[in-house]
Amino acid sequence: MTNLFILQLLNGLQFGVLLFLIAAGLTLVFGIMDFVNLAHGVLYMVGAYLMATFVAMTGSFTLGMLLAIPAALVFGLLVEYLVIRKLYHRSHLDQVLATFGLVMIVSEGVKIIWGSAPLSVPVPELLSGSIALVGPLQYPVYRLAIIATGLLAALMLYLLVNHTRIGMLLRAGATNQRMVAALGVNITRLFTMIFAFGVMLACFAGAMVAPILSVDTGMGESVLILTFVVIVIGGIGSIRGAFLGALLVAMVDTLGRTFGPILLRMVMDSSDASQVGRTLAPMLVYILMAAILFAKPDGLFGRKTT
């Protein structure tokens, strides 16, 4: 049982850092630009598709990643310039409508370019295989690599936000956007930068996850809702909140799915336990969100709404 617990902790951590990479961009865009971007999940999907393409072209995971990230950046800038920029001053409803349209256009576009069958990206040779943990349990090396890169990315984001001039502008923008503009900062350029940066992080997450998940047109939608849960729990606009929120959501989800039914089996008979367990497990994350919002309506690190 302890072995299983350690294994699931690792799984939770891996899922958490992945969620964080996606949520970081979304929370910045939502928090600083006050822009509701439903298309964020789609960008994650595009990252995975770009990765699949470049890995297939070059035959190398590293080269694929090096090509996929700049391509993702270009794509992000393009989307920002063509669509998002026109929506900054519109209502949230307009933004939701427009980005929802974007979701459909990009999904269909991806289908036209890459076809409907799911694609796959091979795990790089160096990181394939799995290492023995304890007893019969093994853990894939690639997932450990995701944890490491994710934590590294989180650290770099922390340094960027808290110890650089750009980070200072970001934090200032998150607190009071109009004041920042009044002080002579080019807010349009800042917005473009934030958006492109968020896209890049999401695409990076998509690229990292491509070898363990299938790359298909539905992958963005499935992750988007959880990402919104993460940023709401963490407090909109807070990177630190997104990090903690992502870990919390991932842990609750992973551990709840495994140990929920096991715990239930101790108090009720097996078929009831599996029935209740499977109903309850997908709800856990939302129960967590409700509990946190009940105690802290602005999320863990949210600024007070005035």
Binding site: L4, N11, P122, S214, G218, M219, S274
Partner: protein, 387 residues
Amino acid sequence: MRRTFLLAMLGATCLSGAAMADDGKLKIGLIYSLSGPAAALGDQARNGFLLAAEQIGDMGGMETEIIVVDDERKPDLAASRARELVERDEVDFVVGPIFSNVLIAIHKPVTESGAILISSNAGTSNFAGEECHPNFFVTSYQNDQNHEVMGAYAQSQGFDNVFLMAPNYQAGIDSLNGFKRSYTGGVASEIFTELGQLDFSSELGQIAAFQPDAVFTFMPGGMGVNLVKQYTQAGLTEIPFLSAFTVDETTLPATQDAAVGFLGGATWAPDMDNDANRAFVSAYEAKYDHVPGTYAMQAYDAAQLIDSAVRAVNGNLGDKDALRAALRAADFESPRGDFSFGNNQYPIQDFYLVQAVKREDGKFQTSIVEKIFEDYQDNYAALCSME
């Protein structure tokens, strides 16, 4: 215009057979999921049907018009698309869909209009039993059967500790019940995952901890691709992986080597040894450049079935009784070999254990290992009142 309107009205009031325009043309509507994550399945089915149509030329010796629509895997949308096909386009046959919930939605609008509905994939238990309908034919299987095949295999191997896993929706629950109908050994654990779940690390951890004799799962589409890849990555391949609708020609291009050796239950595999099958597989691969799966084969047979029946009645589509009788005769060469209809107009056929293999040309396909059931009929046929 007025005539069309009247005909549509007649169709809407369900006067059996009256809505069909007798213009000397054979009209067929295909309804498949052609967009979204499951589009690969619909694409295969459409390709399979169109391949047969192209090879045959004038189907049933008549000028043929084929209308393809996308149900987007949405039952409500599918019902209105199906209604458009029978009322506005006045098709004689509707062929499709992939998914059972879509089938349930389109069954009534199509069969009650007088048109013939041929399901080339979904085969729900209700339409096999009490709700069987003279205008409804199935060229695939009854949904439970592939799971029963795997249960029978697990039983024959003497497994006594099988780990069961399926998505938490009706087809998933049916799947595990189907498995347990022919498997009486012990169950290590029974897990229902969220529909659409893509990361199975938590479930795989439990499999590793339980160390069962075998794993049985039903994870169609993208879910299966992910599960298979992660299963291999987690180093679990020593535990036999049994599945239905999980490892097939639509998922193998994505799972590739990760799925090789995994077992499944099916009515057919591309390497089946008969002339009709060799002709079908080579023609399909030449035209579409990928390996056909059961979805393509069953749609191919649906086209052959229509052709054979319309030919048998000399293109007289107005005589529905004769047409239905001709359909029931199933007078065509199926790539899967023996094929006939039971009283509920679901197939009676053989079922096989299949295994994913890598071919010499580097492509992947399933391959027949052994026959599990001979001339197998579904468990619901007795509930159907048709003779």
